[in-house]
């Protein structure tokens, strides 16, 4: 049972969650990752959803942060101010998953404007990047997604470089970007490639990145999913292939 590239993203995303963590996710692959973590190594990880859903028991497969499938069996249905103010800004949520059209060398994220093209905007992303201890990005690895500097900084990574985040008044952060080619990490620094996806090379990464990333001396290879992870993902977490249209057509 071979994992699809994007399935591997989800599984590697799930591995960023520790048991007992509070995690804020939207929908899409991050939600699949968080749900997978809960069903495997992190049964006590809890989800917070920006719309005000605290600790839901997710039913397959939500397409929105207000999808009834994401409100099911929650600890509380509250408000956005409670979730993003009372939990995220309050410092209770360790890990946040973010998307974005661009992620730059210093882990800043753009979801507002790219080259005069209007994007949806921040939503809770800026809040998550401002207050969580760890931000995880799951993304296809395409050159246009990894410019040296974002056209517009919606969500703060390390801004202009080391020290700038603290200077702006923001707390410490770890950034982990999991792509279809590699894993990149940063902590008050530029993104550094720390692992490659199975079958991907450092040259693949260089060819598809808009800046020249550092590579850690000893590169790991991302561990392939075990069959149970794939089964959970395909049969229980996204059985209708809502986020895996490529699975449908195989």
């Amino acid at each position: 049972m071979n994992a699809l590239p994007r399935e591997l993203l989800v599984v590697e995303g799930a591995r960023q969650i520790r048991d007992g963590d509070l995690v804020i996710v939207g929908t899409g692959l991050p939600l699949l990752a968080a749900t997978l973590a809960q069903r495997t190594h992190a049964p006590d990880a809890k989800l917070v959803i920006e719309s005000g859903v605290i600790f839901p028991k997710v039913m397959p497969t939500p397409v929105s942060v207000v999808d009834p499938r994401l409100m099911h069996g929650a600890s509380r249905h509250g408000t956005l101010f409670e979730a993003l103010g009372g939990m995220v800004q309050r410092g209770l949520v360790r890990t946040g998953f973010l998307g974005g059209a661009q992620v730059d060398e210093f882990g800043n994220i753009n979801s507002t404007w790219v080259a005069g093209k209007r994007l949806p905007g921040s939503g809770g992303a800026n809040d998550i990047a401002s207050h969580c201890g760890q931000v995880v990005v799951l993304t296809d690895h395409e050159r246009r997604r990894f410019p040296a500097r974002c056209d517009y900084v919606t969500s703060p990574g390390f801004l202009g470089g080391p020290g700038e985040r603290a200077k702006a008044g923001l707390g410490p952060l770890k950034v982990k970007v999991v792509t279809t080619l590699c894993v990149m990490e940063a902590e008050d620094s530029a993104l550094t490639v720390t692992a490659l996806m199975p079958g991907a090379s450092a040259q693949d990464v260089l060819d598809n990145t808009g800046f020249i990333p550092k590579f850690r001396d000893s590169l790991d290879t991302v561990v392939l999913p075990d069959p149970e992870e794939i089964r959970l993902l395909r049969e229980e977490i996204d059985p209708a292939c809502v986020y895996f249209p490529e699975r449908k057509t195989r």
């Binding site: 408000t79 956005l80 993003l84 507002t112 800026n126 900084v153």
Partner: protein
């Protein structure tokens, strides 16, 4: 004091051209579609639409040519794509945009709800979002006076009129919402006037035996409109699921261009929301199916 009005009466009384319109709902959930249709029918222009996640209502109002500015956290329908009419109008410079994080918008509504001129947040620091909001006069950089750490001060947001859709209301305007309430409670408390449409309007005092469960008390509500399926094609928790096919169809028109959206509005809105529901779902089968779908989810 009974506050029951028709959507036509309520919109004509409270939504003026140039108004700051606080938009309830989020994404595919509990958008005040019946009230927004009525705004489009009556056509007050030059609106500023504010909310957290703005979705279908904003896109329709933009396509109808009624919007001058938006202040929001996001404009999109997540899985179902961006707001195409809004995006085009913004890219053409016809609609100006004040971009916030969701917490920043919620903070501005909370300031208005508490009668304060501003509230601080620790979001936005260091970003282009902050620079733009400072330029717009909506945010200031400041420092916590006790520890001297940076904070952002956000000007209160007080909509002229807020539109929301709820599960139930009583005739006095006490409102019960099920599921999450996003930014809506503080937005309503901050607004100068609020129109609530509800699946069901009950006699005055219907919730007086369980006042803890009242989401928004009558003190903040100006008008109550009864409209079953008033959020269709978006969902109402425990009442009905969202209508994916309807949303996809609207988005298909959105992709094709503003003219196609306006054509869709002209062909579908009709003279009332009931007429619209009949146009889209003559047999009522779709609505029954959405209600059944929700029962399996709660």
């Amino acid at each position: 004091m009974h506050k029951l009005l028709t959507a036509a009466e309520a919109v004509s009384r409270f939504v003026r051209p140039g108004a700051v319109l606080g938009m309830g709902g989020q994404n595919i959930n509990r958008c005040p579609m019946a009230l927004v249709h009525e705004v489009i029918r009556q056509g007050p222009g030059e609106l500023t639409v504010v909310g957290c996640n703005l979705s279908l209502p904003l896109d329709m109002l933009v396509a109808a040519g009624l919007v001058a500015r938006t202040e929001q956290g996001t404009g999109n329908l997540e899985r179902y794509g961006t707001l195409f009419a809004w995006r085009r109008a913004v890219e053409r410079g016809e609609v100006s945009v004040g971009d916030h994080s969701h917490l920043a918008m919620a903070t501005r509504f909370a300031a208005g709800a508490l009668g304060l001129p501003y509230l601080p947040t620790r979001s936005l620091l260091g970003t282009d979002l902050l620079a733009d909001l400072v330029r717009d006069g909506v945010a200031r950089e400041g420092a916590d006076p006790f520890e001297n750490r940076p904070v952002v001060l956000l000007r209160a947001m007080r909509p002229d009129v807020a539109l929301i859709h709820a599960n139930r209301a009583d005739l006095n305007g006490n409102v019960v919402i099920e599921g999450v309430t996003s930014h809506e409670v503080d937005m309503v408390r901050a607004a100068h006037a609020t129109i609530v449409s509800a699946e069901e309007v009950l006699p005055a005092g219907a919730f007086a035996d369980r006042p803890e469960q009242v989401t928004i008390p009558e003190a903040y509500v100006s008008a109550v409109v009864e409209q079953p399926y008033g959020a269709f094609p978006t969902s109402v928790y425990r009442a009905y699921d969202f209508a994916e096919g309807e949303i996809k169809e609207y988005q298909a028109r959105g992709r094709e261009g503003d003219e196609r959206v306006r054509g869709w509005l002209a062909a579908n809105l009709g003279a009332s929301f009931e007429e619209y529901l009949k146009t889209r779902d003559a047999s009522g089968d779709l609505r029954r199916e959405l209600a059944e779908q929700m029962r399996r989810l709660v």
